[in-house]
Symmetry: C2
Subunit: 337 residues, 2 copies
């Protein structure tokens, strides 16, 4: 966890969360006490990052079970939480687990504890991919704030730093909501990593001029053929990496794989308000009424992805086979930590 920053936590009669929209300027903590509070915190991106909204949603449903006596009403409230964002698969998966559990709070805590262990395992496996002094490019935030554990892609980078590999990390600022500038930089700085911000459109020139060794990103949903939904801009980075002969890795827990869908065309892509593009924290940057196309995610075809880094190990092509194996594989956390 970033020193001093806790993404989400159980708080007795509420779910405590950090409203990440105010970072890095302010660390504002809020308490969610109702289905509306939980759903709104997710929809507004106060709490974000596919694994983190899974953990938050799990605590949220555990809270609703305590506060709503009527069973039908409770299930409706849980569905409201489940539907707060459509693209990440972790939220639906976590809500369903808590709904099916005898002790909802215990189940939510188990999901949180597992996320921490899973992130550690991802970091251990990912570490092998990073050579000493590597130049790494990443996009969007995938650190502790995004998972409520140690992070996925950023967890790998932070583990490399702790392992003495001293990576140099180029961070796409990640418009429109600037998770790269606001969150990644904060987390890497706390871990002592040498980090450099770029505007997203400078990724290609950074790859060429700074001889990037690898790209590593997170994911919101991965189909059976390896097609991967992640923050908008990921698809472009995968094409640019292929053009420059740079390996492109996706670090994600097994809960991000949606084994029920064959390919990326089946992943629902959330389109968000034009307002995120045409204004910045209330300051208008385009003429009034300007139209914008604002998909929150895009889908990177599996054939552009070198490998997936999961808590069960590195998953390589052909993905039809290796992702089917992943579904069936028992989880063995690596021994070397």
């Amino acid at each position: 966890m970033t020193p001093g920053l806790t993404a989400v936590a159980w708080d007795g009669d509420a779910v405590l969360y950090l409203d990440q929209r105010w970072l890095p300027n302010e660390a504002r903590y809020e308490r969610a006490r109702s289905a509306d509070d939980v759903a709104e915190a997710i929809a507004s991106l106060a709490v974000r990052g596919a694994p983190c909204i899974g953990v938050f949603g799990a605590y949220g449903v555990a809270l609703l079970r305590r506060t709503i006596a009527d069973d039908a009403e409770f299930r409706r409230a849980a569905q409201r939480v489940r539907a707060a964002r459509p693209t990440a698969v972790n939220l639906g998966w976590a809500v369903d687990r808590v709904l099916a559990a005898a002790d909802p709070l215990q189940e939510a805590r188990a999901i949180h504890d597992e996320q921490i262990a899973i992130d550690d395992a991802i970091a251990s496996y990912g570490l092998e991919l990073i050579r000493k002094g590597a130049r790494v490019l990443t996009h969007c935030n995938t650190g502790p704030l995004a998972t409520a554990g140690g992070g996925t892609a950023l967890g790998v980078i932070i583990a490399a730093q702790r392992g003495g590999k001293k990576p140099r990390v180029f961070l796409g600022e990640t418009r429109p909501l600037l998770q790269g500038s606001r969150l990644n930089y904060l987390e890497l700085e706390a871990a002592g990593v040498d980090a450099v911000l770029i505007v997203d459109s400078a990724a290609a020139v950074a790859m060429r001029e700074h001889r990037i060794d690898l790209v590593i990103v997170g994911a919101d949903r991965i189909a059976r053929n390896g097609d991967t939904a992640n923050k908008v801009g990921t698809y472009a980075l995968a094409i640019l990496a292929a053009h420059h002969g740079i390996p492109f890795y996706v670090a994600a827990p097994r809960s991000t794989f949606d084994f029920s869908i064959a390919g990326g065309a089946d992943i629902p892509i959330e389109e968000r308000s034009a307002e995120e593009v045409v204004s910045f924290r209330g300051q208008r940057v385009a003429p009034d009424g300007a139209a914008a196309y604002n998909p929150a995610f895009d889908v990177t075809p599996g054939h552009l992805i070198t490998a997936f880094v999961t808590e069960c190990g590195i998953v390589r092509p052909p993905y039809g086979d290796s992702i089917s194996d992943l579904e069936l594989r028992p989880l063995v956390l690596p021994a070397h930590r």
Copy 2:
């Protein structure tokens, strides 16, 4: 010219200019009266766009010739203007023309009048590339505000609209300074063009989901082999266009070609302050002291460019030959306007 907006104009004892940094919120006009004023307006991007800073620099040097009696002092002042930005070739070219002229003001006015005629010719030739209802993607601002004429890439798009072709135009917002959101949208709206803003990193998904027909951008300097320096992000768009099988055009006057250099490695690339990336109009978006890599331009290799649209016609590969022809070709403005 955008209705009501004049980029630069001669004003008797000063050069009038629109401080574009405040658009679209405010149309602030300023008067440059000294070499410092002119150089500062260019360096700060109050006046920007390769052809426009050429016209502005020309008027600036004409002004200095009137206000500085001492010849050596005048030449030093002109050099200060000439050095205000390193990448665009038009500024140096225009300053040199005015320095060599018997009547500096007349020469500056001639450069401005020629730019207007040249932009019209570029628009006429470019029109042929756009089919009815085409979906066009562009980056940075290349309209009247960028040239002090009718524009280059945006001039082509506006001509297509006037010709009844009703293009649909996707505009990269163009971080860090948001010329796409702030300036392009304003100019296209004034021309009645159907425009849609995107964050720069959404270009790849827009190409795929909205079946973009062509990309057209401007340029700051073009080498003899077709390598093209333009606003950062252009290189990425050219790779993404090639990946999707989309033609990639560069619209630029002959004055943007630097016939003295063989390839892109010889083009000086201006690196600007990290401040442009880590803050927005005074609002910080990254932790204090955050490092950033902020190249203002990148170089797109000629082999990724389908053709150049110039006032002398469409220039196609092989560029070694066709750009040498362009250097020698007499300018004949197209008859069909």
